[in-house]
C-alpha cells in the first residue's frame, strides 16, 4: 500500500484552541497507518508539548506514537503577530506521521528529511 500525504492549510487550524488543534492532528494521524500530515505553519512549542503528552496518553500496541517536526518560527513574536493582524500568514510547516510509518525525521535548520518504512 502506498503512502498518503495529506496537506492541511493553516486556515483549517486557525480557529481551534490548542487542545482542539492537537486532538485534530492526532485524530488525522491515527485514521490511517499510511498517512503523513504536512501542515502549513509551524506548531508552537506549547502545541508540540501538548501533542507529545496527548500522544503518550493514547499509545497502545497498535499505535506506538508519532514522529513530528516543525520548521520555521515557533514562538509568537511581535513580527508574527503583526503579520497575522494584517491578514498575512506566518511561515513554516509541520510534518506529523505515525511512528509505524515514519521511522525518522532528520532535521537541518532549514530542511526536513523523512525516512519511511514498515
Amino acid at each position: 500500500m502506498g503512502i498518503e500525504i495529506q496537506f492541511i492549510a493553516a486556515e483549517k487550524l486557525k480557529d481551534k484552541t490548542p487542545p482542539q488543534k492537537v486532538a485534530f492532528i492526532l485524530d488525522q494521524v491515527k485514521k490511517s497507518k499510511n498517512r503523513i500530515l504536512v501542515i502549513e505553519g509551524s506548531l508552537s512549542s506549547t502545541d508540540e508539548k501538548e501533542l507529545i503528552a496527548k500522544t503518550m496518553g493514547e499509545v497502545n500496541k497498535n499505535f506506538p506514537g508519532i514522529e513530528v517536526a516543525s520548521l520555521g518560527e515557533q514562538s509568537s513574536t511581535l513580527k508574527t503577530q503583526l503579520i497575522k493582524l494584517l491578514g498575512g500568514k506566518s511561515s513554516g510547516l509541520t510534518v506529523v506521521g505515525p511512528s509505524t510509518l515514519v521511522k525518522q525525521i532528520k532535521r537541518d535548520p532549514d530542511k526536513l528529511s523523512l525516512l519511511t518504512g514498515k
Binding site: 512549542s45 508540540e48 507529545i52 499509545v59 500496541k61 506514537g65 532528520k106 537541518d108
Partner: protein
C-alpha cells in the same frame, strides 16, 4: 505567569531563595540518570537513580531534595529532579528486542508513557533546567527543540549539557552550533569530567 513573576520579585526583594528546583531533561538515554547520580554522589555520597542501557529506565520523576552544592565557597541548596526521558513514541516491541518478556515489555511501555507525561507537566514547575544531550547524537531532535521552546517561553534558565564527551565520536561543537543562545558545558557524567565547570554554570545561570 504573573504569580510566578510576583513570587520571583518577592524572592529578589528579600534575598535569594533558600533552594531551587533543577530539572534534568532530555531525550531517552542521553545520560540524565548517570548525571543525576554523579551530582548526588558528589554532594550527598549516595546515588539517586538506576541506570540502564535499556531505554526508559527512569519512568517517574526521581527527586533528591535539599542537595547542598558548594561552589567557590558558596553553598547552593537545590532539589534535583531526574526526569524520565521524553520521546514521541514508546513501542513495547523495542523492549522485547532487548530480551524482555511480553508482559514486562508492555508494563514498561505503559509506565514510560506515564513518565513522559509527568516530565512534560514538570516543565511548568522547575526553577531551572539542564537539557542533557548525547554529544554523539544529532542534537536537532524534536524533543530537544520542544523542551527548549517551552523553557524559553517561560523564561526558565537552561544549561545545555553535552554529555558523553569521553566517547570517540562525540561532537559537542555540533550542539553548540545548534543552540548558541544557551550556555553549554561539555562533560562526561560517567567519568566525572568537567563537573566543576558544570557546578559553576549552575551557580552562574541556574540559581535565579
Amino acid at each position: 505567569m504573573p504569580f510566578r513573576q510576583f513570587l520571583s520579585w518577592l524572592q529578589n526583594l528579600f534575598g535569594s531563595r533558600q533552594s531551587f528546583s533543577l530539572g534534568l531533561y532530555g531525550n531517552v538515554n542521553a545520560g540524565k540518570s548517570t548525571l543525576a547520580n554523579r551530582i548526588s554522589k558528589d554532594w550527598s555520597g549516595e546515588e539517586m537513580s538506576t541506570v540502564s542501557e535499556v531505554p526508559h529506565e527512569t519512568r517517574e520523576v526521581i527527586k533528591k531534595e535539599r542537595l547542598a552544592v558548594r561552589v567557590d565557597g558558596k553553598i547552593l541548596t537545590m532539589n534535583l529532579l531526574d526526569m524520565p526521558g521524553i520521546a514521541t513514541k514508546v513501542d513495547y516491541r523495542d523492549f522485547i528486542k532487548r530480551g524482555m518478556k511480553l508482559p514486562d515489555a508492555q508494563k514498561r511501555a505503559k509506565e514510560a508513557t506515564k513518565g513522559i507525561i509527568e516530565a512534560i507537566k514538570w516543565l511548568e514547575h522547575v526553577d531551572a533546567a539542564m537539557l542533557v544531550m548525547d554529544a554523539c547524537e544529532d542534537p536537532y531532535t524534536q524533543v530537544n527543540i520542544t523542551i527548549l521552546g517551552n523553557l524559553e517561553a517561560r523564561k526558565i534558565p537552561v544549561i545545555i549539557v553535552a554529555n558523553k564527551i569521553d566517547k570517540k565520536n562525540a561532537k559537542a561543537d555540533r550542539i553548540r552550533a545548534a543552540f548558541p543562545q544557551h550556555p553549554l558545558v561539555e562533560i562526561s557524567a560517567l567519568k566525572g569530567d568537567n563537573m566543576d565547570q558544570l557546578y559553576r554554570a549552575i551557580a552562574q545561570y541556574a540559581k535565579g
